[in-house]
Each structure stands twice: as C-alpha cells, then as structure tokens.
Amino acid sequence: MSEPERFFGRVEELRQLRREARLLVRGQGRSRVLCARPGSGKTELLRQWHGRLFLEGEIFPFLFGFSREMADCPTFCRDFVLALALQALAFRRRDPLLLARPLPAADLAEGLRSSWGDGGVLLAEALNGLEPSASGPAALARAALVPQRLAALTGTRVLCLFDDMGNLAAAHAAPLWPEEAIASPIAPVLATLENECLLPRVFGDVSASLMTFDRLGPLSAEAASRLARHLARTAGLELADRAITALAGECAGSPFYLGVLVRALADGPGTGALDVVRAAASAACEGELARYWVELLARAIPDRRTRATALEILTYCLREGAGSPDAGRLAARMLKPEADVELALAGLARAGVVRVGCARIDVDADPVLHDVVQALYRREFGRMTPPAVVAALAAEKVRAAPSVRRKLWREAVRSALRGILGAWDGQQVPSDLFDAAAFLVRTGAGAVQEGGDVITLPQVVSVASGRVGSGVSLPGLEVDALAWALRAETGTTDADVAWVARLLTGGTGGAEQLSQFDRDVAALQMAGELPATRVVRWAILESPLDSAGAATAARLRLSTSTWPQLEVLAGRLGVAVVLPPQGPVTPAEPTLEIEMIIPRVADVELVAARALEQLAENLAIDPVVTGRLKVAVVEACINAFEHAGVADGRVRLVFSVAGGRLQMRVENRGRPLAALPSPAVAGREARGRGWGLTLIRELVDEVALEPREDGVSLLMVKHLGRAVHG
C-alpha cells in the first residue's frame, strides 16, 4: 500500500470518505479520525484521497504530514503555513506540478495575492505574520486556524488531511491540550481532536478534517470518563486498577490522558476513588509522568469538591517525591498546617514560595506561607518562629536527599538546628540557619569529597586592614569549604568570582566594621589587588548584627555568616570550631590598663613581651594566642624604635582590657610611618626590615596606624571571645 501503483482495494474506506466529502460540499463538514496500526496504509489512503480531491477541484484538500522530526522542529509553524500556501496556489492555478516545486515565501505570497484575491491576501499575511522560529501553543494555534479562516473568507470547501497527528500530540500535548486547545476558540482542529477521539473512527462536527493516528493512546476526558465509569460499574475496582496500569503504559507519550482517566475514575460513583488514584500514582509516579500527573490532580480534584481525597492524594504524591510547583502550592494551601506543617512546608518549597538558604523569609509575601508560619508559631514556641520554618525545610531537604547517609544527616541537622533554635534570641532571624540549610542542600548530592567526587573549592582571600591576605584564618575551619557551601546563595560559581572574607569580631554590632570592610575592598580593587568586579564580600561575624548592621549589610550587599552557622557547617565538614561562650551577656569587666615606657636598648622589646605574657596568663588567654601576641608586640616595638630615631629613643606601651578586647598600643615619637615598604622591597634594601606590620596583621584581629603630629601610634586589638581557654 505504500506505493501508488499498488494502491488497490479500500473500497469501503473510499466510499466513506466520498460520503464525508459530499457532506462537506453541503456545508456539513466534520472531522474524522483514522486510527490503525503503523504500516497498515493510512498515509497512502490519505495521499490517494488528496490526489482525487485535487483533480476534482470542488474541495481544496490540504495534506500535511506531522512527521516526528517536523513536529519537534522550531520552524514547524511556518512550515505548516508554507505548505498550506503552496498547496493553495497549486490548487488555485490547477497546477499539480507546483506541489513538487517549492517557491520562496515572497514569490508564493505574491502569486497568491494575484491569483486568489482575499484568500491570497490572507495566506500572504499569514506567511508574513509568522516569524521563522515562531513556536509554542499560541503560534501553533494561529497556524492551525489559517485553513479555517481561508474557508470562511473565500467560501472554499477546505479539507485538512493531517497525517500522523499523534506526533503533534506527543510534541505539544502538555502545553496545548489541557488548557490552550480546549479553552481556546482559535484552535478548532485540535479542540475537535481533543473532544472526539475516543476510539477509532469517532466523528465530530466542528470542522472538516481527517487525521490519522497510529494507536489508541490519546483519550479524551469524556472518553476516559465513560470508560472509567463503565469499568467501575461493571468490573469493580480491581479491574479498574489494572486498566489504569495498562493505560499508563499505553499512554506513556501522553500523560495528560492518564491524568484525565484517573480523574474520571476518582470521580466515579461508588468507587474507591482514593485507592484507584493511589494505584494510578504508583504506576505513574516516575519521571515526567509524575509531574503531569500531580499537576492534573492539583487542578482537577479540588474542583470536584473532594477535598479529603485531594489532600490524601497530594500528601501521597509529595511524600513520594512527585510534587510539582502547582501541587506543592495546592498542598500547602489545602493541608492544615497544624496537622502536618512539615508537609505544608515541603509543598511551599516545591512551589518556590520559600527557599532553603534565603536570607530572610518574608512571611507576609504569601498568605499561605503566613498561615504556615502561624501554625509553627502556635505549635512550636507560642510566637512566630522563622527558624522553625527553616529547620523543617532543612529536614525535608535531607529527607529528599539521595544519599544513603541521609538518616544520619537528618539527625545531625535536627540536632544542630535545635541547638541554634535554643540559642536564638527570638528577635532576629538568624541567617545562619538558612545558610546551614543551604549547605545541607548542597551536600545532599555529595559532600566535599565523598564517593569519589572531588569538588574544587573556591579560593578565599582575606582582607585585613586594607591588605589582601593569603587565606582566612579560623581555628580548625576550612573557610574555603564554607564558601563552596554558600556560593549558591550568591548565584556564583567558583570560576567567575573572587571570594573575599573578613572575620569581624568584638560584638560591636557590625555596621561600622562592615562599612570599613567595604571601603577596604574598594580600595584594593582600585589598587588592582582584587578584581574590579566579580568579588563576593563575605563578613564572618562573631555575634549577630544589630539592626544598623543588618541594614548596612543589605545596603552594601555583603554576605554575612555567624558563628552558630560556622558550627553547623563545620560539623558537616567534620572539623572543629572553637565557639565563643554562649549564654547571657556578662557585664563588661572593669578596665585593666598597664602602661610602660621602654628605652632604646638592645632586645628591650622582650620586656614588653614578658609583661604581656603575664597579663595574658592572668586573663587565661590561650598560650598559642599569647605567643602570637608577643610576636606582634615585639615587632611593634622594633618598628617603633626604628622610626623613633635618636631624637627620642623611648617607646610607650599601653596594654588595656575592656569589653572582651585586649588592646595593645605602641607609640613613639619621630617620623611617621607614612610610606611603609612592602616586604619584598624591604628584603632587598635591608634584611629583616618591613616584615613587622605584615606579621602584626597576621597575628591580631585589628590593626590601626594612627599618625600623630609628633609620631605614630600603632593600635593592635585582639578579641578575647575565642582566645580565652578553659
């Protein structure tokens, strides 16, 4: 049957087609669907029928084959209209040879205008109105409408012969059929198909077309409903389940129909709707089918006022990991937050209403989210608790993680977040919780180095007093790893940014420190030591920001993390962090101040170092920290003597303790340190010179050079929060 000379028989089919043609001529055209197995001769029958109609000239037959490749082609819509225009011109001129001789679009449009009046203008405009790459439901609907408009405008009887329509359905079923095609009046061809293709040779009466399908796959909603009710009524639930399972396989390319069928079954009287739907979900909750399936449920079932069923279905699907954004949002809206707040949050997360890792949750941004948070408020603390939202989200994310370690992770996360919640002051939303959850999401697919996957960490540099350092020093903590964990929050990759971090200590609230950090980074960018752009500035805070600090961070677009966050993240990384003492803030201890003036004598700086050592011992400062501070003081003294010159060979030192800060001030008279040589330059000029400030900046938390009229004052600060042991 695939070759013209071998076309024979088909007497009954041709007779039926002739009858349909007569109806069309009388203005009673309708659509037919020709469904048969592949290779059984559908296409050849269409060609033969097209040739005969073309020669007769009474009906304009538009033949178009929806090959799989063509249906997926981005220029499909334009190809469709081009074929229509060419065949229209050939039909108008009675020249079948034109069909084998494609014309350029411009020539085609001109030929149509000159030979077919209004119809030619319509087709020419249709050609011009479609961009070559126009695609999507709207473009397809416009293209499909052109034959109908041609028929209406010219009075010509038009019969669309669409071959292999199933390919179009497979390519466009999802965006077109559920909403666009059914609801839109400008897609009559597809609408006809949707409404009427219950079984082979089911006829409609909306427009004139003949469409071929290879298999039974597509089922209309009405057909599915009829079939489902019939099954439920006559064969019972068990058979209905089996029918659904079978159809799930049959409809693999058209999940829409599976959903429709299940919807109909669920609505059927006397059936165990939920059991039916569960059976269908079991068959369908894999891959793309699951997404379509849940979306359909989300739309369809609430309309049927089967709220309880819908809730159970959505719960089931969400727990099975089959949630779509629509379903997630629906679940969050329909589920009672008090009953299952975690599930409601999971739904919100799927809907994108809340996001693990975001800096803040704006509870007023979404009424559903507001309700959920209120539920948490009632259940958890008696007040609104964004951290609990995040804890639940994190737990949900871990639950969904594919790793076999997710049970351990879940427990670890819950434990860590409980700890943070316990320490939360209830006043601010600690971003560390969000970031901790973000980290868990990142590690859900594999830790920093796990399972053979080695992840390259970004290089984090520090900025100390306006100088770029070689790394960020935190006790036992891999800051680079933290940057890797948090980079998703900034939408960056390792390759396109430079991470710059500063550790802010002292609990001063942060606004001033953050501003200084911003200025330092800007200065270094101007000096070319940091990239001019693509820098992520990351402040690590010892204590939560106050409102001014938070506002400053937001204004400067600084990333911030706090110690509790580091604790969680470090725990995930398997490293230890020495945390600042928790608990209520103790009143500031009385200020302790030691002042000493030392003369210019060889190695006299050792005296200052020993004095500092004694003070540090009394303050229970960690000996290693003390060792660093001694070096810093020694270097400061050497520098001071160096710059004091011989005019006044004395150096004044003041060690003071207040507010958890150890301040070490070293002052001298003489020329100011206006131009400090770099270590490299100093190494060339004089051995040992120029390293002093470099070392100092590495060894203390803050350094400030304060030029004075008669000399220089160098202030070094060490925050004792993490330096005190015991």
Binding site: D603, V604, V624, G627, V631, G688, R689
Partner: protein, 112 residues
C-alpha cells in the same frame, strides 16, 4: 638583656645547635658567626633546634635566611627542628619554609 644562648654539638660532619631564649637581631648574629665558623671546618649540615626558643622576631629570621643561603652556596644544608606552633607560623608567613626544612626532631635530619 642577656636573653639568648646556644650549645653546639658536632658529629659526623653535622652540627646540632640548640638555642635558648629570644631569637632577635643580636641572637641571629651570634648564630651566624657560629655557623660561619663551623662552615670553615668540616661541617656542612646544620640543624638549629628551636625547642627552647619561644620568641623570634623578623630581624632574627632574616639573618637566618642569609645564613641558610650561605650554607647552601657551599653545598651544605641547614634545617630547623622542634619549632613551636607560633614560630612555625611566623616562619611560614615569612616564607622560610622555602629555604629550609622544618624537622620534628633532630634525628629527622638523618632520614635524608
């Protein structure tokens, strides 16, 4: 301010110098003299044991760098052993690890 001293033990062409106290400019110069003296003899390998030196300044370290370069120029080697964590950090910041090995103990020098 006599805060620095050292002892030297020479055996098999190797000298182990154990320091005590603050390694400053003065101390660095004393060490330099000692090592130059030993270099003139049969010693080409040196281990400076800093176990009892808890404080070092940048000038002293810079003198040591010069000494290391001098020893290497004569085909010898100078290593440091038993550094405190702070001293090791200072050495790292100043890049001394590029010039000399850091040993956990004096005997580690024999492994090479």
């Amino acid at each position: 301010m006599a805060s620095f001293s050292f002892t030297t033990h020479v055996a098999d062409g190797r000298a182990i110098i154990r320091t005590r106290g603050y390694l400053s400019r003065t101390a660095g110069e004393q060490l330099e003299q000692e090592i130059v003296r030993l270099l003139g003899g049969e010693v080409s390998r040196f281990v400076v044991n800093l176990h009892d030196t808890d404080l070092i300044n940048s000038v002293g370290i810079s003198i040591l760098i010069g000494v290391i370069e001098r020893v290497r120029a004569q085909g010898g080697e100078l290593a440091f052993s038993e550094l405190t964590s702070v001293n090791e950090e200072i050495f790292r910041i100043m890049g001394l690890q590029r010039h000399a090995r850091m040993l956990r103990s004096d005997s580690d020098a024999e492994d090479r």
